[in-house]
Amino acid sequence: MTQPSGAALEVRRLHLWRGDRHLLRDVSFALQPGELLQVMGQNGVGKTSLLRCVAGLIEPESGEIDWHGAPVRKEREAFHRQLAYLGHVNALKPDLSALENLHYSVRLRRDVERHEMLEMLARLQVSQCADLPARALSAGQKRRVAIARVILSGASLWILDEPITNLDRGGIECVEACMATHLRAGGSILTAAHQSLLTQHARVRVLELQ
C-alpha cells in the first residue's frame, strides 16, 4: 500500500470538515528531507487547519499522514518528538522572562544549557530581551523568542503558521537564514505564509489551496 518514497512527511487524500464546511478536499502532498513546502491561499481557505491537522491537533475526517513511512496516528508521541509547531499564538507566559519561557518549554523535549539559549536569542537578535518578562516585549520580539523555541527544540520537522507576522525587514532575513540552515541540515519545513519565503532557495515548493 505504502511504497517507500523516501519522503519525510507524506499526506494522502486528506479531508477535513469544520462544522458544515468541507474545508480540505482531498489534499495530498509529500515533503522530502531538506525541503520547504509553503501552503498558500486566501484567508479562510484552511491553511491553519491543514497545518494543525498535520501536527495532530485536529483529527481529519479521512486521509493518511505518514512520517517516514509510518502512520502518525499509531506513533503520535514519537512523531511529536520530531516536530516543532509554531501557531498563531506564541505560547509565552507574560510573567516569565524570555529565558525562563524557553527553559520551561524546551526542557520538556531535551536538556538545554543556558548559554545555548542565550546564543539562540543572540542569533535572532533579541539578546537584550533575555531577562525581561515576556509582557514587556514587542510583538515582533515575542515572535522571535517563539522561533528561538522552535529551533532549540531540535526537531527535524518544523510546522510554522505565519512565522514572519509582526517581524521587520531584519527579522525576516534573520528567520530566513535560520530556515535555510535547517534545510541544509536535512530538516523539513511546512509553513503557511502570505509572503513568499526563501525565494532564492532551490528546494522550496508551493502548495496552493483552493
Binding site: W17, R18, G19, D20
Partner: protein
C-alpha cells in the same frame, strides 16, 4: 456479524431501519401498557397499608429503572462512538439524553406525589429520590455541555467523555446516598422498597416495565431519525431521498 454491524452503522441503513421498527415498537408498547394498566389499576387488590396510593408505583418504578438504564445506554453508545469512531453511536447517545431526562423527571414527579400520602410531605430526602435528583443533574449537565459546542463532532466527543466519567460515578453516587441516609434513619424506612409484593400486584409491574422499554425504543427510533437528518443534511443519499418523495 461485523458486516452487519458496519451496515447498521451506516446512516441511510439506520435511518430506514429506525423507520421500519418504530410502528412495531410503539404499538406493542401501547398494547402492553393498556394490559398492565388494567391489571394494575383494576385487577390488583388495594394494599392493606397504602390502600390505592401504591398504584402510582406502576408509573414510578418503570420510569425510575429506565432513568438509570437509559443513562447507561447513553454512556455505552458514547464509549463506542469515541473508541471506534462510529458517528451513529454518537447520534444514539445524543438521542438518549432528553428521553432519559424525561423519565427522570417523571420518576421524580411520581415519587413526590406518592410521597404526599406516605410521608405527608411532597418531598422527603429519601435515598432513592435523592439519587434520582442527582441523576437528573447528570442529564442536565450532559445536555448543557452538548449544546455549548457549535461543532457537532466536538460536542459528540466532549459529551462522550462526560458521559463516561458520569457512568463511573453513578454507583458511587448511589452508594454514598444510601450510606448518607442510613445514618439518619433506619435502613428499613424507605417505604418505596417493597421487598415482597404479591403476584397480582407484581405481574402488571413487570409488563409495565416491558411496555416502558418498548416505548423508549420507539421514541429513540424517532429521535435517532431526527439526529441523522440534522447531521447528514448535506449528504447525497438524503437529498436523493427527499427528491424521491
Amino acid at each position: 456479524m461485523w458486516l452487519w454491524f458496519y451496515k447498521l452503522a451506516s446512516p441511510p441503513y439506520a435511518y430506514a431501519m429506525a423507520a421500519r421498527l418504530r410502528p412495531w415498537l410503539l404499538w406493542s408498547a401501547l398494547i402492553l401498557m393498556a394490559v398492565a394498566a388494567y391489571g394494575g389499576l383494576v385487577l390488583a387488590p388495594p394494599d392493606y397499608q397504602q390502600k390505592d396510593a401504591f398504584r402510582i408505583m406502576y408509573v414510578h418504578v418503570p420510569s425510575a429503572i429506565l432513568s438509570l438504564s437509559v443513562y447507561i445506554i447513553l454512556a455505552v453508545a458514547a464509549g463506542i462512538g469515541i473508541i471506534w469512531r462510529i458517528k451513529l453511536a454518537h447520534a444514539v447517545a445524543a438521542a438518549c439524553a432528553p428521553i432519559g431526562a424525561s423519565f427522570t423527571v417523571l420518576a421524580l414527579a411520581t415519587g413526590s406525589i406518592w410521597g404526599k400520602p406516605m410521608w405527608g410531605t411532597w418531598w422527603e430526602w429519601d435515598p432513592r429520590l435523592t439519587s434520582e435528583l442527582i441523576q437528573l443533574f447528570l442529564y442536565l449537565g450532559y445536555m448543557a455541555l452538548r449544546s455549548s459546542f457549535d461543532d457537532t463532532q466536538r460536542a459528540d466527543r466532549a459529551s462522550a467523555i462526560l458521559a463516561i466519567v458520569g457512568v463511573v460515578n453513578v454507583p458511587v453516587v448511589k452508594y454514598s446516598v444510601v450510606w448518607w441516609n442510613s445514618l439518619h434513619q433506619g435502613p428499613s424506612i424507605s417505604k418505596m422498597a417493597a421487598p415482597s409484593i404479591a403476584s397480582p400486584m407484581l405481574w402488571p409491574l413487570l409488563i409495565m416495565l416491558l411496555a416502558f422499554m418498548l416505548y423508549f425504543a420507539a421514541v429513540l427510533c424517532d429521535r435517532i431519525r431526527a439526529e441523522i437528518l440534522k447531521r447528514e443534511r448535506n449528504a447525497s443519499w438524503l437529498n436523493a431521498l427527499a427528491a424521491g418523495t
